[in-house]
Symmetry: C2
Subunit: 381 residues, 2 copies
């Protein structure tokens, strides 16, 4: 079967992304580290910079982080911090500045401890996105980030450049969304590893080269579908992954689904479709406002109520027809954890789909228990 990417980075999506960042940096681009889908990458691209998603998914740096941070904190935050302390995140080492957001308690406070390492801007994110004044305040944050970049790098970011990068990101986002839509095929024609590789690639890739690559992937997937080159068995149970971002050591959960012979047909999280699921209004006359409006619609559990998540889950379940929704919660992530109460009820009762909540960290110690629970949930269909 033709791989989606015809390059030297098979099985190594992060190295592919790193190559993108290194290439653009060598061509003079400033590297802006980001941890979160709320980081408005259009502003970075408009400056001629490149966004780099920083390392956050390995268990290895966590003991180092726990010398400073509470043990009872989300592994993603501890891992991020440990990577920086140990200087083992190649992306962070390349960054010229970092952008953070007030998405969650742990990350927000962790940012205070890393600002000694890099110029850092924390965007204040409203948590009630439909409240009066929320969009206007978030526009202030987007503008604050733009001004931070302008001051840090002695440059200006014009509205025209913002409009251009909005158009480019929209084009890219539409293609990524098209790729994820192949998840609806039954049997499957795309694996979760491939979805994850596409999502990872698209974060640091931009412009004609990226568009050509994504269009080529769509052609490959179309050919697979037409030639009935399936990546799963006809009988494979179908799984939608929702919840916290996943990557690195927490991919253990997705691998266990593979081991059971089931097919993951959707990744509805910030390391999956979520950052690419929407487009920004073009030619609005106020690109910062357009960006603010679009990003404030991202349905993260940090929002209250997170109405958008239920709309997206409905669309995803209708399109992908999963037999099971796995709601993956990283330990100590209070927002996604408490939100499972409503998500479970919605998925089971409103969408009539089986549901499994998994709370885990980056260690391997719960593998046996996870395997049993996932196998049991898949059998229940």
């Amino acid at each position: 079967m033709t791989p989606l990417f015809n390059d030297d980075f098979q099985e190594f999506p992060l190295k592919r992304a790193l190559a993108q960042v290194v290439g653009k940096r060598e061509a003079g681009a400033k590297v802006i580290g980001a941890y979160c889908s709320y980081a408005p990458v259009e502003v970075v691209w408009a400056m001629g910079g490149v966004p780099a998603v920083l390392c956050a998914f390995s268990n290895a740096p966590i003991p180092k982080a726990e010398e400073t941070l509470p043990v009872n904190l989300c592994p993603l935050i501890k891992s991020s911090f440990g990577f920086i302390e140990l200087k083992t995140c190649p992306f962070f080492e390349l960054t010229d500045a970092v952008v953070g957001e007030t998405t969650c308690d742990g990350k927000k406070k962790m940012f205070e401890l890393i600002q000694k390492h890099r110029p850092l801007y924390v965007m204040d994110l409203p948590q009630c996105p439909t409240n009066e004044g929320a969009v206007a305040y978030w526009r202030h944050s987007v503008n604050g980030f733009k001004q931070f970049l302008e001051e840090t790098f002695a440059t200006t970011i014009s509205d025209a450049a913002l409009e251009e990068s909005i158009r480019e990101c929209n084009r890219k986002n539409r293609l990524v969304k098209q790729i994820f839509a192949f998840g609806a095929c039954k049997p499957a024609v795309i694996t979760w590893q491939e979805m994850y590789a596409v999502a990872t690639y698209a974060m640091s890739a931009q412009g004609p080269e990226a568009i050509a690559q994504l269009e080529e992937i769509i052609a490959t997937l179309t050919a697979r579908r037409e030639q009935k080159l399936f990546t799963s068995k006809e009988s494979a149970k179908r799984v939608l992954i929702t919840g916290c971002p996943v990557g690195g050591d927490v991919l253990k959960v997705l691998k266990l689904v593979d081991e059971e012979g089931a097919a993951i047909v959707g990744l509805d999280s910030c390391t999956g479709l979520k950052p690419y699921a929407d487009v920004t209004e073009e030619g609005s006359g106020d690109p910062l406002l357009a960006i603010a409006k679009r990003y404030l619609q991202i349905p993260c559990a940090c929002m209250t109520p997170n109405t958008g998540r239920f709309e997206v889950l409905k669309q995803q379940v209708e399109a992908l027809k999963p037999d099971l929704v796995i709601d993956l919660v990283l330990q100590s992530c209070h927002t996604y954890n408490v939100e499972t109460v409503k998500v479970e009820s919605y998925v089971r009762e409103d969408l009539g789909t089986n549901y499994l909540k998994v709370v885990t960290d980056f260690s391997q110690q719960d593998l046996g228990q996870l395997k049993t629970r996932i196998a049991a949930a898949l059998e229940m269909n």
Copy 2:
């Protein structure tokens, strides 16, 4: 020694507060439940309502809460939720509406689950209080709360009424602050139980009766000081309590300090001085903006950076001259927990004062360990 309150509620500050709420309710006031110092009580008083601080500090309802909420959540949030589910919080049972804020991940998401019980308004709280637009957005939240009350109770809250309640709250806050300032006396003339009783009383008391009561307390404390009626020994080690709100079962930590013969001379938290530490600008012409400005200065760890906390700690340490600062963190409270990194460094290095971080919950199982650690920290001076 003359007690501070000359009533039937000695040792029962919550019953005293409840009597205030019941009395005002019988006189026709709407009862507005609140969990947090960011709730702008001026708006409630301006409506002719009465704020009631809802139960959140007992271990008893936690098992009930854990049927729904994650076990690994702050005990204060679990307790609050359990009280509501079990209908055992007398304050909540009296409420006509509840106000919440997006202060922390757990509470924010818990509010989504209790809104079926009462009309509920969640105020979106900016987390970067000095960012451009933060005050304006928070003013929207204060106004949203006002409109919610007006719509829920078919009433109007005039600017004149807001100005009047600002003046009354300011007067009350100044008196409470004067009372807490007696903590500077050496030996002590006020106990932490008395400080806690004053803070609890002042939340649901207002007007001439409250002012008279607080002035009487000041007279009593002045007399104690003049007559050298001390509540601690001359040699007692002095302790300032900072960090998360305390009450009910978590007062175990404060009781352990008593057992060691030390004197708690300050309660720098939301169940202590914090809600009363500032006043709102009077006669500004825009009372909602004045309220927004004042409340946004409350130095909770949910803010980033929480600069105000360090200023307050400096003032408190200079005024109260503690030998030890105990930073009390409730389990799973990520903001206060991560902030201890900076607080410890500031207290030890900048303020030259001994520091003890205590992470605890509402159970009694860590009593032995806490006793040992507190005794050791007190001996280190």
